[in-house]
Symmetry: D2
Subunit: 377 residues, 4 copies
């Protein structure tokens, strides 16, 4: 693991998610650019001291130098955005598969470069867009893909948070500080942090692609250096349209990402706050409550579920599904067998490039007086 | 009553709403431009045959000709949009107060003319934007007005319906036929029919005014002559922003209008499907469930509630609140006393003019390549 | 109307419910045993002074003395329990049809006497068990009656309130005072007031009859003279069983009566707080959300609905359904035609007798050391 | 681990829960009484073949024979009920700490014997009553314990399932077969399997003790050998009362355990289907929505939460909390330090004995004609 020292949020989540299914063992880390912090974190996690490194370069170089059977197999990179590209590139080029936190890179240019590295090295990359790991999100996608709702007409996706309602920067809240810092986050705050999740969820579930967008991007809290709020009109492929909302100043909201999709024959509604439920709506008959582990679900949801219906699976399980599917894919590859479609169903380099393109396009649209901005990659 | 013959939806609703509190008695009607239909409806409703008229002109003329104590006092106009202005003008000019269904007129020009008539005649007009009649919508407005949430930053309003997901025009569904007919509805379908409700709700609850808008207006169902779907980015007064969504092709949705407002200190969330609940959210403490008749509500909600907490009040009660407050206002006037602020709290000519301006501005924006369209009246 | 003077809760509800559909006009009343209060209430309601009476005896005698076309047709009795029997008997024997608030009488003996009066006079009586007036409660009953859920095995009914959590007696809360006073309420408080509603709902929806019961009846608040809490195990006809809970000391609860019924093939769940929804559950497929006005409902629900799906109908509409069906039945009778099954579907004397038997049996069981008490009438 | 071979449900859950926080490593197992199954399971789980045993006796004996640093530290026993006591006793007496699935033993007599073993050996035992591992259940307990709701008056607990609505025994459903088999489950089916969870939750949250009970115990499905349904009236310590419902024939229900507690000043409501929410109700102010990770929660909930508010934690996290707290307690002990109150907050031998007493008392009451049965241990 690279990043994820004490006090970081997402590093701990990665460790819990990787541990859940017993397919990963954490054996080495460069947890911080501060060697003391790195060492302390490694000790806390019970790692052998000689595999706790002071920099990602050391980690990659020294692990590569170990006998193949004794080195790490997958490297998780959980640093802030500006520290994604370099370690990911080095890891891939050094022969490691990579798990990388979102958004994939600091800029679209970096994302494209990384895509080229993936192609060149033939290594695999898993990008942790958590929300697509939920069983009922996978069910939603399968349902749309099978045509059950007819041609899709309308997609609404929203991601309201309230934790940046006040000026939190520069204080104890490290999350707030780096996520609003353009030198660490990139050109966008809310759109980069959570807008990309919403965008990814929209394209994943609907199977459609954003073709044009029209964005209203705001910095609501005085003194903030990046956007903390936005709303976007969308023109989607196949004639559909949509709305994407992401905000970090909806005071009192936690983290309730939600997607609604409407087709000719029906619609669906999923929200993270009730993650094990998918409402399936119909033109001429009652709405149905589809449930994780329930009698109606398809192969993708079933594959990503650990317990019977009525035993709620949450955020960590969704996160763990990304890790698990990535492991299953790598294991199949090692065994010289084709990975199952369900195992291959994890976000990867293509989603990462589109996510970075979303950030650049949405910020460009926000600054433009032109109504529609073409979505370009 | 003018309009509301057999088969009409909203006419029956007006009659139920007017009857609920015993402050109106239906004594005369011109229920249809077809005299037979008008007569049959009058008979069904138990009216004296000599007060069932074949045209609105007859109704107004002949009622005016009756002794003051024996004539109608208030005229409800529940015809399709293109038949709002003429009878309303005539009624006002003939000395009657008017209840008028929304949207107020066929065009903004008519709306302004009607405003002039109201001013000139000094009569009163109540416009039936039902959703502002709900106790917890009034509570929301009062809460915002008192500054409890701090300065408002963001408003989301949505009104999803699914009943026009297919081409319903020209068949048995009279509602579908006239509401999608530009000669009867005006220049807009969904935006005129339900978008105006959403717009009115937004301005009513937030106390803010729409200043600029950027609309994506669609006709989704092939062959339809007016819009059936739209999404609008909004710039609001006092630096706030918002999103308005209204659609009639969200297959499987009923009629679930919803508004969310976020300020510096907290937010609120109301939806018609759970109309007696107002979620009040706070930055630093748990969300609260405020309820109709509950211990927290203010004077406006209390005034508009008939039963103790736990006895759900619905759409007809909300509608009846408009009629009741209008009656209380007229009674106070007749008694030469000032009406209470709670009685005066019914939608009127100003809301009607702004509603028509919304329709014209939103359709203009939908057709424009320019990003932001100024909201002009 | 007999009873329902200023300050009374249920009298006002009766007036609203009767007014809604325009089938009743309030023309006479004996609103209080205090003639001044009666007069003042009559004036407030706009009645002719000569039809406002100082006692129920006067009302009945003098209305009977009027020409048939000018006298009241139906008498609503909305007094406390101890004042139900005498006016109801007199009204029936004087040739009037009667609407009577629940519980029907002060005692089971009175209830049986009243049943004999009904039989002897051939007049009709409507007992206002409101909850069976909700469209989705009627849908639930129809669904069970059609065998859709298979043989019924289990019924849970609950009615939690919190308004008597403190000693409220003797103060301004008149409701609290008479409802906890054995000289006015009868032998039971909570069980008589709301337990009877729960019992009625259970027998109405399930179509089953309580055959044995085992009750835990409590007076929780110190100083209270009647029960304010109870829970009852039930043995039902056809081998089913159930649980009934009614309490007035569930601090923070409003009035959320709920019923769940489970059969061999599925179950259903209805609660007043979400009155327009009926959850229909199945063994092998997803739960469905059936809605008032929705595509799945049967003839009884449809008959008792005034607005399209998505326009919530509430407590007053449910109450009004009782009045409306009673009126439709009387009108059919007057016209010499059979009333429709939907019109005849209002609670009447049989439900009243069983309700009073429930009160006596449940209090007896509460006092007994014997586990099961036979339900006797 | 003892038990938990392929096809078992709860064994896999234990493994996931133990893995989540990285405090346990599975190194040895006797997964089945069938040595082949045991071996195959061990291989699947990647264990060293020499630490996969054919019997629990072998496991315990051979692990004990290993050097202290190389042997297992904690033994998880996840077998059916009739195979709890013997391995638990042997493990404890051999110096191992034990995690044991519920209900603790086959009979109350065994439970008492096991309690004596615990006392005699000084080893620790963790009993996996999962539901008490949820953060908001811990919050509920803390809130009651602090007196926030005043003296507790009423407790309702319910555990409805539908999975045994048909005769499933003897087929492919192994769970159904052993759980309804008196030679494996003991004297009770539903009450032993899920009634004990409900009972444990009630005593845990309310802090009260069941003193008397009155049970209606049923076998609804023909041919079934143990109860599949029950409802119980409860007399609790400190003058409170309650109702416990547990059923496995509520067709269409998943696993929605729920508890409601009402005191003098307010109430609370928690249900597993919305596990991260605790509704806190008040006599005189709005209901509050307390959330996992939210601003209102106390030390116990916070200690048992891994992610910020809005990242739902589910069943596996709750289960993992038991394992984690047990590990923290053992680690503190090994370090010669006192474990924190939060770490010590896991179900143990006392809860196990009371749970077995509940089973015996509730079945006895179900068979009795006497109304109240004293709860005896």
């Amino acid at each position: 693991m690279i990043g994820g020292g004490q006090g970081a949020f997402i590093g701990a989540v990665h460790r819990l998610a990787a541990a859940l299914d017993g397919q990963y063992e954490l054996v080495a880390g460069a947890f911080s650019s501060n060697p003391d912090t790195s060492r302390a974190t490694g000790q806390l996690l019970g790692l052998a001291p000689d595999r706790v490194y002071g920099s990602y370069e050391d980690l990659i170089a020294q692990e590569k130098a170990r006998p193949e059977a004794e080195r790490v197999q997958v490297i998780s990179i959980v640093t802030p955005n500006h520290l994604h590209f370099a370690p990911a590139k080095l890891a891939l080029e050094s022969g490691f598969d990579v798990v990388l936190d979102k958004p994939m890179t600091f800029s679209l240019a970096e994302a494209k470069d990384l895509a080229a590295v993936v192609t060149a090295t033939g290594r695999r990359l898993c990008l942790t867009h958590t929300y697509t790991g939920y069983p009922m999100v996978k069910e939603a996608r399968q349902l749309v893909a099978q045509g059950t709702l007819g041609r899709i007409r309308k997609v609404y996706v929203e991601y309201p948070q309230g934790w940046l309602s006040k000026f939190e920067e520069g204080g104890e809240n490290k999350q707030a500080s780096w996520r609003t810092d353009p030198t660490k986050s990139g050109i966008s705050g809310a759109m980069g942090d959570i807008g990309t999740h919403a965008f990814n969820l929209l394209e994943y579930v609907s199977g459609l692609r954003v073709e044009k967008l029209c964005a209203d991007i705001n910095t609501v809290v005085e003194g903030r250096r990046l956007d903390d709020d936005g709303a976007v009109l969308l023109r989607l492929s196949d004639g559909a349209s949509g709305v994407l909302v992401a905000t970090q100043v909806a005071a009192g909201e936690e983290n309730n990402v939600r997607i609604r999709v409407y087709g000719e024959k029906g619609g669906l509604d999923w929200m993270q706050a009730d993650a094990n439920t998918l409402l399936v709506k119909w033109l001429d008959r009652p709405t149905e409550i589809w449930r994780t582990g329930g009698p109606s679900v398809g192969s993708y949801a079933a594959h990503n579920t650990r317990t019977p219906a009525g035993h709620p699976e949450g955020y960590l399980e969704a996160f763990a599904n990304l890790y698990r599917n990535f492991a299953l894919t790598l294991q199949a590859e090692q065994a010289g067998q084709p990975a199952s479609p369900e195992a291959l169903d994890y976000p990867s380099i293509e989603e990462g490039v589109r996510g970075m393109a979303f950030i650049e396009n949405v910020i460009a649209s926000g600054r433009s007086d032109q109504k529609w901005t073409d979505f370009t990659v």
